[in-house]
Symmetry: C2
């Protein structure tokens, strides 16, 4: 499937509702559980998605469009959410994510990107040259990957509870 | 995390909304894409969830409570959705799933299950003896596993589009 803005936007716009419908109002045993030491809870993942809205997808799009390959993207902090989410409720984080995502999609659409723009190039600090198409396709895939992660982390809370069915549930590992 | 009905019910009741928010109104390129031959699209997964509502979780709960280990559960047909979903729209399937799930949760709650009931045993045609606790924990985990699958199948439609970022996205395989 070739990336187009027309296909990508409806997925990007749905993610806050998907994450909210997965998590809103659940007991903390679901939202704060992890897969073990140094792994993330659903709460941590929402904080990570917020940090992406603030520092990754649209800021990098703007760097790419303004500076091309001459300016390397600012490195992304994969651990920023542990400090930034401290003291906040999950409900607050979900609201923040929804607001930032909506604003970022307005910014994206206001750029009036053409198919040619999607082939413009920027520079990732570790991965090197990349196109705007690749950056925006990664935004979509990154969303879906973290939705899958939230569902997996939740499901694994019951790894010891499903008894013999575990062999039918490869997600449990 | 120990299985309790109190924790399980809010997850089971959210699944139709989660799946609808992921899929409603998306182009068929998202909803009908698979991971390759003999793998399932999101459309196929919703049909499978419907078949589970009709023949698996609550029917097996009722067999277990009525007959214990003396009656083996009816085998589950993992491919029933290919015939049953034929000619239907995704929107119809999502509505059917939501209706069946809501009705099944009413049936589950009407059983007035006690903690002792959760230890009652039934017999799976392949896995052998199992408890009601294990069956119901599997229902929850199965939901989450298929939510993760839908997100993964969608994300993999862009495997060739993310360029160098693929190394950061283990979900793409």
């Amino acid at each position: 499937m070739r990336f187009t803005l027309e296909d990508a936007l409806p997925v990007l716009s749905r993610t806050p509702a998907v994450v909210s419908s997965l998590l809103t109002g659940l007991p903390e045993s679901w939202t704060r559980g992890t897969e073990g030491p140094d792994t993330w809870s659903p709460f941590d993942v929402v904080g990570h998605l917020i940090h992406g809205e603030r520092t990754d997808w649209i800021p990098r799009t703007e760097i790419l469009l303004t500076h091309g390959e001459s300016r390397t993207f600012t490195p992304f902090d994969r651990f920023a959410q542990f400090e930034a989410s401290r003291g906040k409720t999950l409900h607050e984080l979900l609201d923040t994510f929804a607001e930032l995502r909506a604003a970022n999609l307005v910014r994206l659409q206001s750029l009036g990107l053409t198919p040619d723009d999607l082939e413009r190039r920027g520079r990732h600090p570790e991965l090197g040259p990349c196109t705007l198409r690749e950056l925006l396709a990664t935004w979509v895939t990154h969303d879906l990957s973290h939705i899958a992660q939230i569902a997996r982390v939740m499901g694994r809370q019951y790894t010891d509870e499903v008894g013999p069915w575990r062999v039918y549930l490869p997600m449990l590992g």
